[in-house]
Structure formats: C-alpha cells, structure tokens
Point group: C2
Chain length 545, copies 2
C-alpha cells in the first residue's frame, strides 16, 4: 500500500484556492500510484478559521469543498480535514473531523476527541468532542484516523484530557495510524512533536503518518515537518520545514523500520525561517507586495528589515530614516549602510519640523512642565505618523519593529514605534534579536557590525541608553521567560536566584502594560507563548501590579 | 431559613479588596440574622481572571481568601465562588467551584459542569467540568448548588451541552437552588436571564437564589440584577442593576410565592447605565480619575463626553477641540456649547501647524500624487498625537469615540481617531448613538440639538458627509446587526430584502478591516456581540472579502 503525505500551505476561507491545491496534490499522488493521499486538519477552510465557523454559509462551503474532492476519489482514497455538522441537537453544532473519501463518496468520518483549548487554541469554542471511535477498513488494512491533539495526551504525566482516542480504538486492532494536524511552529516544537509521536508509536506498536500544514495564517506559523514513523520508533522521514510538498511511502517499507531521516534543528535558524515565512504569507495572502519600516540604526529595525528583505525581496522593502536632534551620527550612517548592503530603497526624512510643530502647538498647554516621556513619545509618534502616511500613499504595509523584551515591559510608544500591521520580532527577546543578527550575517556583513555592538538606545533624549531604565537584557529576558513562557510566579523566580525587588519590578511592568499590548499588531509567533491571542490577560486587574 | 444575597463589584486579582468586601457583607448578613450568605462566581479573584489562572501563585491566593472567609463562617454559612485545584492528574488542573463554608471550614464543594466557551467566555481553557453532583444538607434543607452556566441549558432547543447538572441532582430531592453567577450585561440579557431562570424553576418546581456580579472589568460589564424566584414562577425580587447591595430573604416567604418585583428594562437607558458603569470602573480600578477626549462637534464625541461626565464628573473630563480648515463653523461652536453645558474644562488647539508640517515634510515624497485618504488620515493622526501628548503630560486617559458602525466598516483612522485607552461607544451602532443622545437630553438640552440633527461628517475634506461613502445608517446598521450579532451569511441577509451588491460590499468592508479592529482599545460590551475578545476573526482570511 502506497501512502502520499501532502504538506500544504492553506489559506483561511479561500475555498477555491485550498481545493485547487488539494486537487493538484491528488493528481500528483495518482501519478505516483498512491492508494491514499492525506491532507492536514481542517484543510478545506484553513486553520484556525476562528469565528467564521459560526457562519452556516462558511460550513456549507467546507461541505462543498469535501464533495468536490470526493468526486476525485475513484482511484485513490483521500483523507481530508473539515468541520462537519453535529446532527444531534445536544452539544456544540460542529465536529472537527477527518473524512475518508473513496469511490466518489464520504466513506467514513472520525471526529476529533481532544479539543485543544489553551494558548492560541479555542477548539471547544466550536466543536463537540467525539464519543465514538471506529477504524477505517481499506484494502485489507485497518486505519486509526486521528486529528492533531488526539495523539498529544500520550506520555504526559499531567494529561489535559480524561480519555485517549487510540486507547478506544486499540481493541479494533488497527494496522497504522494517520494523524491530520495543524500544529503551529515554536522553536522547540519540532522536538516535542517527535517525542509525542514516538511515545504513541511505542505505546501502540504501529507506524504513524503525521501530516502537518506549512505556511502562516497571520500570527500562527505552521512549519510542516510532517513525519512518518516506523513501529521501531525510527523516524522513517521528516518532511522539510516551511515548504509545500507531496511525498509517497510504501507502507511495507515504513513497517520494516531501520531508516532514520530528520531535518536539522537549530533554534535561531528555525526562528529566522519561521519569521520569513510569516512575513511572506502575511503579505501574499493579503495581496500585498511591499513593506515599509522605520530604520533607526538600531538592531531591532535592522533585523526586521533583513527578514523582510529575505521574505519580500529587498526592492520591496522601503526603509525610512527619521533622525532627530537626539539621533547620534552613527544612527543614520548605520541605517544607510544596511539599506545599501541589501540594495533596499530608502528615504531620509528628519522629524524636526513635525516635532517642533507639536511642541509649538502644545507649548502654552505644557507651560512650566518639564521635558518628560511626553516629548519622547512625540518623537516616536511623529515617526509613526510619517510612516503611516507613506504607507497610505504608496500602499506598503508598515512593519512593526518592537522586540519581545520591550513589548513585555512597555518600553515603547503606543501609536509611535508600536505602529504597524505586523509585528515581525515581537516574539523574540532582545538577546535572541542579537543572535538573529549574527545569523543574518553568517556569510557576510549585511547588518553593520556597529549596529550589533553599540549599546541599545531609543535615542529620545540626550545620551539615552536602554540600560538607564531597564535591567540588563540577559537578566531581564531570563526573568521574562520564566514569567511568560514558564508561568512561574514571583516566589518561584526569586527561588531561582533573581533579586526580589527586581523580579517584582519586572512583573509589575509586564502587568501594567497590558493595555499597550492590547493595541499591538499581531505578533509572528515563534515561541511557546507569544503576546496576542495565545496570552489573554485582564487589563483592569490588580495582580502583581 | 434566612438567605442573604450579596451582589458585589469585584476586582480581578485584588484579593484583599474582594475579601474585605465579602467580609463586610458577611457582617451585614450576620446582623440581619441570615443563615446563609451567597456571593458570585469566582468572587475570590473576580471574573474573568483569564490567564492569571495559569499561575499557581494566583490560585494559592484564591485558596487563602477562601480560608480567611471560612474563619468567619461559624454562625453563618458562606457560599463563595473560587477556582479549586483538580486533585486528579487527568483533565484540566482546575475546577470552577461553589464552596459551602460553615463552622470555620469548607464543608462541601460543587464544581461547575457546563463551561461556557463562546463569545467572551473561555472557561474550558482553564477548567475541568464536574462529573459528580451532590446536594448540600444544611439545617434540615437540601441545597442544589450551581455555578452560572449550569442552569443555562434548560429550555433550549439546541443545547450546548450533553448533560444538565440539576437533572443529575433531581433524585437527591433538593429544596432550593442556589446559583453563583458572573453573567455579563447586554441590553437584552436581563429578559433572557429571567426566561432561563423561570424555565429552571418550572422544570424543577424549586425556588432559586441567583447571585450575579455588578460592576465592570475592562470591557465586560456586570449588571447585577440578581434574582430570587418563587416556585410559582413569580420573580420574588430582582435586585437593582449596576449597584452593590446585600439583601435578605426568608426562604418560607419565597416558597409561598405570589409576589412579583422587577426592575424596569428599557434598552437605551440600560446601555446608558452600563456604559457609565464601564467608564467608572475602568478608571477607578486602574487608579485614574481624569479623562481626555477630542470633541469634534459631532454626535459620537458628544455622547462619549456626556457619558464620561456622568461617570467621572464633568470637571474630570478634559475636552479638546481641534479644528482644521475643513471644520465647519458650527463644529467648534457645537463642541464649545456642549462643554459649557456640562461645565467641562476645554481647550481649542487647531491642527493647522502640525498638519502643515507633515504635508511640508512629506511634500517631496508625495509629488504628483493627488490628495486622498492619506491627507485625511494625517488630520486624524495630528489630532491623535495631540490628544496623546496631553494625556501623557496630564495623566488623563484618552477616551476613544468611535461607534460600532464605523468600527465595523473601517471608517476611522488607525492611530488617529481610533486612539484611546477605552472605547466607550464602540459597541453602539450609530442609530443607537442618536437614541443615546436623545436620552442624555431627556430632561434638558445638554448635547446641542444641532449636534444631533446635522448630517454626520468626518470633516476631513471639503463638504464631506458620511453618506458620501457609506450607506444610510438605518440600512447599514441593520445589515451589520444581522451579520455581527445574528451571524447571518450573505444569502440569509439578502433573503431579508437587502440589496445583494450592498450586502456584499458591507460584509467585505467588515472583513477587510479586521486588522484595524485588532489594534483598537477594549470596547465596553453592551450587546450580545461586541468587537474584541468576544468576536475572534482571522486577519489573513479570504472569506466574503
């Protein structure tokens, strides 16, 4: 039996586009004489479709997509993911299902039982969990169909669910496992995924075909990395990351085992590739080609520009240098050098006139009040307005250049440097931004070394440095990581050896700046806990604040 | 048996504050010789605590609050809502529970079974549903304890859940039902609530004590309206809306029935009171006193200013008039009149100088390109920057004045008029904004009549009117209501008699402007479907767009 794994980049709600991609993959699989072709979870509509699922019209379009796909299933079985209506009035109105199409019709459906409802996932918002489990019999084989999370509760000391779908199917003696996934990237996810799959293969002694999405849907990035695991626990194949492809396997070969083929996994390289994918798909799926961003000479905007240039082509990234009287000489020089290194178009637009106009307009209202954060913000907002005006006039999407460390502690100006349609490095701590810069420069100096080596500064007042108001990034990032990714409280973090007052100060800064993050652009998610839809915090709270 | 209902305004994560409020209520209940005092759902930590629930430290503080409350339960039973750890490793780590405290200890716990996970609710994100149901025996009575949603599946043709907690307890023959709720306001919610409670009382033939929160937590507003229902289906009492109070009832009197006491329910009055509560608590719970807003002479900012004045006192609302060359004479006059009517401080700050500075700074980059939305946005953004500068300098929170109709179709400038820490009328359609203005003026002309009667205009180009680019608000609002609140698709809306092209245009505008709403301030929720956390849509989608 020959099984084709189709790792595709879907587009939410783009039914014709998704269907066409799947039909092309069916054709490829047929050419290779595959018996079965497998797509990802909710592949008809893309993942996550979110509240579009509440529209009957949307579900009808998913059904139509399945029916048109079924028509092509005469000589090949097609396993597709789609929302399916729950015929029973009790419970949620939909299931998240794997549909087995063959001989022109839907032969069988297996609904998802374990519905991830944490981090970015909201599946119980829409779906009823499966209560029935039945293997699919096909050409003398029994297939256990599962959907994503259905296999993620195995090998977990603190499981999220009280049942396990594969346990329920065990007595039906399946021959192999198929899993349709939409499992988003984070830099440590590929190894987790392999561990979980191996735990399943180990527990049930069966080969597994795991099919993931590739490509990005706004903030959520799918890395592909689909897997075929042999019963001996060997990784028979791991598909490339961030690519679309169809690849066929002989079941008998997979059952034999003994072969191990994996992709290399290096944190910074993976983050780099994920962000490039995220930018490319944000623009491509929205129908835009060109980006704009402010280039300060600092490392955040330099790395953002570099990633954008890789994603969109340097010619499509317009860099704008907006010096003020507080900008140091090297700022403009470093920024200009970066633009030249990439061959990126750039403009120099000083903010003196607009900043002075605000100061003059407001002078009588500010009388007797000292220069403070207001004037700093006025510089950042002058830049924000200039960038948005160019964005409006030229039709370029503004990229936000804030990093995760500053977003965490609120070290940024709302409607100023926090402007932008997409936050490129908002899930990358400052220490990792430095590592990304080194990675960008791995073959030659694209980001000027001076940008990397000089002390970080917002340059909004004379001789300002980040270290004037923030702890060293090494310490700050570690405390933030413990609080944000690891959900450790103050006690646990202090027990790790961090200063009590410093921890209290950092956690307070994170919590009192929730209002700023609420209004931030979507952040390309590369860690296990990014700001945005995956981290839901009250604004009006009084906890550690 | 005497039962005290404590309808309180909690504050998320403010454990000491919440505990003190509850202790005061216990004292009041004891003075009135109550046998039981009942608080709301998750009253230890406030609702919704969101991802704070993922912090062990946060749960320990909830437990501490329960324990300190239990110490006061020697002569009175206390029913409190709190998150409780799930001792079993399988399933989610927490329960959402009603705890029955008596004689200094936790006598019994009933976990919530039906976990709302739709609209603004995310309960399955955190909580395991109850699987055991046991009435509480107290002073010869059997009490069925339920938490909020547990009673909401009765009398529903398309129930969301497959079990019903009260059905599970029926055979234990309870004498009455207690329900701890945190059930947010929407203008049609009070009647829904009464219908649901009556359906329960009708089904089980038991009196019910339903205790809700009052007050606002960022966008979510609780109206109180706690209810005591007699077995004959009569509303023995409905507590006032948007107030905190403790009131006692003799169970025997409630059982007798025959008495009906309700609150008046008028849509616009309720929306008005809800928004005033929302503003008051947003400021109060964040520790702020003063607001600032731009006053254009138009109806949206006028209504926003009026509501803010009621919430905070007119002296705490700074109005800023920012005319441009496109402003009509009446704009400044109408705005000034409004400020004078309220005795609100105001400033007139023309935007000419800052707008001209942007145009001059950008002129060489805009050469040969016609005046378009860019220049319109530059005016809105000049105003946004001025308002934020005053907000920063004075410490006033900027109120956003966008209405729901324009937020829906993207008729607003990101980082311009869409600035602000709180969206006051972002869940009120334009047609209802007019009704709110009339309501504000019910006793005397506070909002100048000219502001209400003149055709709406953004005044960003000569003789501009909203009707130049938008359908009439009567039609627009009805189509938006069908799409947003009623989740009707294009086919269903067209079948209601709306023009096909118009419907397609409106739905497209809603969907392509998701990116703007993503960066909008939290919106005070007054309808059954507000923009924000209750409506989760993809940005990069291709559905009806």
């Amino acid at each position: 039996m020959k099984i084709a794994v189709a790792q595709l980049n879907y587009h939410i709600g783009n039914f014709e586009g998704n269907l066409q991609k799947m039909l092309d993959a069916v054709t490829q699989a047929k050419e290779q004489k595959a018996d079965i072709v497998i797509f990802g979870e909710l592949s008809t509509c893309g993942y996550p479709p979110r509240d579009f699922l509440e529209f009957d019209d949307f579900i009808l379009k998913c059904e139509d997509c399945v029916n048109r796909l079924a028509k092509e299933s005469n000589n090949i079985a097609i396993v597709v993911g789609s929302p399916v209506k729950n015929p029973v009035p009790e419970g949620k109105d939909l299931y998240n299902s794997a549909l087995f199409l063959y001989e022109g019709e839907i032969k069988q459906m297996q609904h998802k039982a374990l519905l991830p409802t944490y981090d970015i996932f909201d599946e119980y918002r829409y779906f009823e969990p499966a209560s029935e489990f039945k293997v699919v019999e096909f050409k003398g084989k029994k297939i256990a169909l599962t959907v994503c999370e259905d296999i993620w509760d195995v090998g977990n000391e603190n499981p999220l669910y009280v049942i396990s779908p594969l346990d329920e199917m065990k007595d039906q003696h399946p021959d192999f496992i198929i899993n349709l996934s939409a499992s988003p990237f984070s830099y440590n996810h590929a190894n987790n995924r392999i561990d979980i799959l191996k735990a399943n293969v180990d527990r049930y002694g069966l080969p597994m075909f795991y099919v993931n999405h590739s490509g990005a849907q706004t903030e959520v990035i799918f890395d592909g990395g689909s897997l075929v695991i042999s019963p001996d626990g060997k990784i028979h194949d791991e598909l490339p990351y961030f690519e679309e492809l169809v690849r066929c396997y002989e079941l008998e070969e997979v059952e034999k085992g003994g072969i191990e083929r994996t992709q290399t996994k290096e944190k910074i390289a993976l983050i780099h590739d994920a962000i490039v994918t995220g930018i490319k798909d944000y623009f491509g799926k929205l129908g835009f080609k060109k980006a704009i961003l402010g280039l300060s000479g600092g490392i955040d905007s330099a790395v953002t520009a570099a990633l954008a240039a890789e994603a969109l082509g340097a010619e499509n990234v317009l860099a704008v240098l907006m010096p003020s009287k507080f900008s140091s000489d090297h700022s403009v020089g470093d920024a200009e050098q970066l633009a030249k290194n990439y061959g990126m178009p750039y403009k120099i637009i000083p903010i003196k006139e607009t900043y002075d106009a605000f100061i003059n307009t407001l002078s009588s209202h500010f009388e007797g009040m000292p220069f403070n954060v207001t004037e700093e913000n006025l510089q950042a907002r002058s830049r924000g307005v200039i960038l948005m005006a160019l964005s409006n006039k030229y039709g370029n999407i503004l990229l936000n250049t804030s990093n995760k460390s500053e977003m965490a502690v609120g070290y940024g100006t709302l409607y100023g440097d926090m402007c932008g349609g997409l936050s490129v490095i908002g899930d990358v701590y400052k220490t990792d931004v430095f590592a990304l810069a080194e990675y960008v420069n791995r073959d030659k100096e694209l980001i000027p070394v001076n940008t990397i080596t000089k002390p970080p500064s917002a340059e909004l007042r004379p001789n300002q440095k980040d270290s004037d108001s923030l702890p060293d990034y090494d310490i700050l990032d570690e405390v933030l990581f413990q609080y944000i990714e690891k959900t450790q409280g103050p006690k646990e973090i202090i027990e790790q050896g961090f200063d009590e007052k410093l921890v209290a100060r950092i956690l307070r800064l994170v919590n009192i700046n929730e209002f700023k993050r609420y209004q931030t652009a979507p952040v390309l998610r590369v860690s296990s806990k990014a700001f945005g839809m995956g981290r839901r915090m009250p604004i009006v709270g009084k906890y550690l604040s």
